[in-house]
Amino acid sequence: MATVMVVDDAMFMRKKCAQVLSQNGYAVVEAASGVEALTAYQQEKPDCVLLDITMPDMDGIQALRELLKVDPDAKVSMCSAMGQQGIVIEALKMGAKDFVVKPFDVARVIGSVKKMIG
């Protein structure tokens, strides 16, 4: 079973996203911040990551940068709501593999995960 890590400080979003993923047969690791994500990434070695952009302490961009340092092949899809186009582009330039718009469309989340894991 492939493992997906969901990183979002917004608890509701995180739970809901995790729920959708586990209903579709993925194992889910949750992290509530960029810092937690880094630790959990190294412990759990997920196959891919859904990474929220707007987070306290370490935002999605910083977290992405650190994740890629730890694992240059990390498969990361950025999650973002409207109005963050510039940041998403920055993430894509840095090496994010995909991008999902919030609020989540179930098919898109699964599609993005499938695309990353292959």
Binding site: D9, A10, M11, F12, M13, K15, K16, Q19, A32, V35, E36, L38, T39, A40, T54, M55, P56, D57, M58, Q62, R65, E66, L68, K69, A81, M82, G83, Q85, G86, V88, I89, E90, L92, K93, M94, G95, K97, D98, F99, V101, K102, P103, F104, V106, R108, G111, K115
Partner: protein
Amino acid sequence: MDLAAGITPEDLNLFIQEADEQLQLLDEDIVRLEKEFDNPDLMQEIFRAAHTLKGSSAMVGHQRLSDLAHAMENVLDQVRKGVLSVSPLIIDALLHGLDIMRMLRKELDSPDAEPADITDAVAELSALLTAVNQPAKRITEQTGILTPDAEAQAELEKACQEGKQAYFIKVSFDEQSNWTAVRSFQVINSLSAIGEIIVSLPTTQEIEEGAINHLFQILVASNNSEEDIKELLTGIPEVESVEINAYEKDAPEEAPKAAGPDSAATAKEDIKLSHTVRVDVNRLDTLMEQVGELVINRNQISQLGRTLAEKYHEDEIIVAFGDSVSQIAKIISTLQQDVMSIRLLPVEIVFNTLPRMVRDIARKENKKVEFIIEGQETEVDRSVIEQLRDPLIHMLRNSIDHGIEAPEERISAGKPEAGTIRLTAMHEQDNIVITVKDDGKGIEPKAIRKSAVDKKIYTSENISKLTDSEAVNLIFDSGLSTASEVTNVSGRGVGLDVVKTNIESLGGSVSVESVPGQGTTFTLTLPLTLAIIPALLVSTGGTICAIPLSSIVEADKLDEKEIQTVRGKEVTLFRGDVLPLLRLDEVFGWSDENNRNNEALHIVVVKYAGTRVGLVVEELLEQQELVVKSLDHFIGASKGITGASILGDGRVVLILDITSLIRGTIIERQNGDNIKTRILTSRAGTK
């Protein structure tokens, strides 16, 4: 309102829990923002809260909440970027939006509620944006056709020499898409993975500047087939169509260099997972209740142990049992303390809701107030926290309304234009002490004295006996007001009598100090917990009741001969004062004056609204620490009872709420035709 499909009640609960947190955070932070407008962290936090709300509410299908959060986020974004600067106008609009958000949030609790209208709030917020007159980034439709320049040609040639095929690709995006720039980047990323991008229209730089509409043209050299590329690109969301043609000419150009991960300093050191857990408060209450039961049982077992030890003091087994009992008793005491400490919460929870209120009142009154909070980390039991808010609001209102002068008045008095109100909390032994200190005009003892005499609360002779400090404290007396003009908020003193009564019934105290011209300080003292209270057990009408020690002045024997009547009402002379008497069993309706027991009486002198009343009971039993248990609403309807407790022998005792008991009795007797006794309130006895 209808929720989105697939949202379960659990989901909704989760959402509500988080939304409430975000709303509270916004409430606190937006008010702070007005002062700390140059604090980027604060700005960021507010932005995130609005952002989170927008996302999650859209997820549960609360579209209006999401839309409003979006409107707020737009404004916040402009503030964050420095396009808009923080002004009272912006704060007002944000707070207004927040108020509507709270209404929207409430709709989730009461589905039948009239749906709140967000139009005004959104308009107010949007007006701020147009006020900046920020020109929307001009997006020019790319009508041109991509033509490689010389540099691109050279690069193309080179790629072809390596055996790659050049393709000219036209990608059209969905007309509705707001994400064309991002999608274009996804196209670029996908193509870079399988080949070399020679040139694109618009260029990556132009895309970043937002100069892309719905058509994106790329010249790419790749080893992959046309079909592969097409499949790759159509997999990108919002891509409507992909047109691929083999390109025959060739030219080089510097490929857009991917920005490599730059090694800026990051907070890598504090990588650790959170070590706290969230606990539902109800669970905490249950835990506390169970520990309370343990304490009661411990008392029972200890008592049993003692009885056994007295009876069989030589028996080894009993001695061993006694040791074990005292061991358990110790553990239970520790456990009780631990659970009590878990229930402690910082007063911050209440304090944080106050700046908003202070701001609103000050704005309404056209006063300038600097509000400073100190000691918000001071912890008290949950039961006390709930009781803090109302008294604090009254005192703060009082300070803004009557303490802080209007800006002109302050300037002419040589004070800074803005008044300062300092709210401080600290521990003092087993109490929490909270002060509200302002640098306003203070309270004139003279004015209070005059008012007290005018209102016939005091005679001019009695009033002269009071010190200035005692006179000033009369503002806690009901009906005293020194405001020359009563504003819509409060006359000085209005509401403070209620504060005093309530605080005293909780076993606390409240006082005021003032230096005319320099300011006023309110001091509020409350016990750290209300879950366990010391009380005196008394018996009346064959039943045992508990009177909280905090209400008691003293207790003594009462000889029948000491009881006199004044116009049919029983009174006694106590410490030189005339003390009205109330027979507890008659107050409870368990007995009446026809079958009065007049032998072996006791009196418990209690505080009531600044005066004293003597409660007549049969016996004084003992003093005990009682674990307070709440009563069911059924019984709760009985005025004068604050809760119940269980004694060591398993009996239930009722804990009296002296203030409401006496107030209720007075009202009853004044209203009822069956007036037996009318209480004389002896105003003389304040000290």
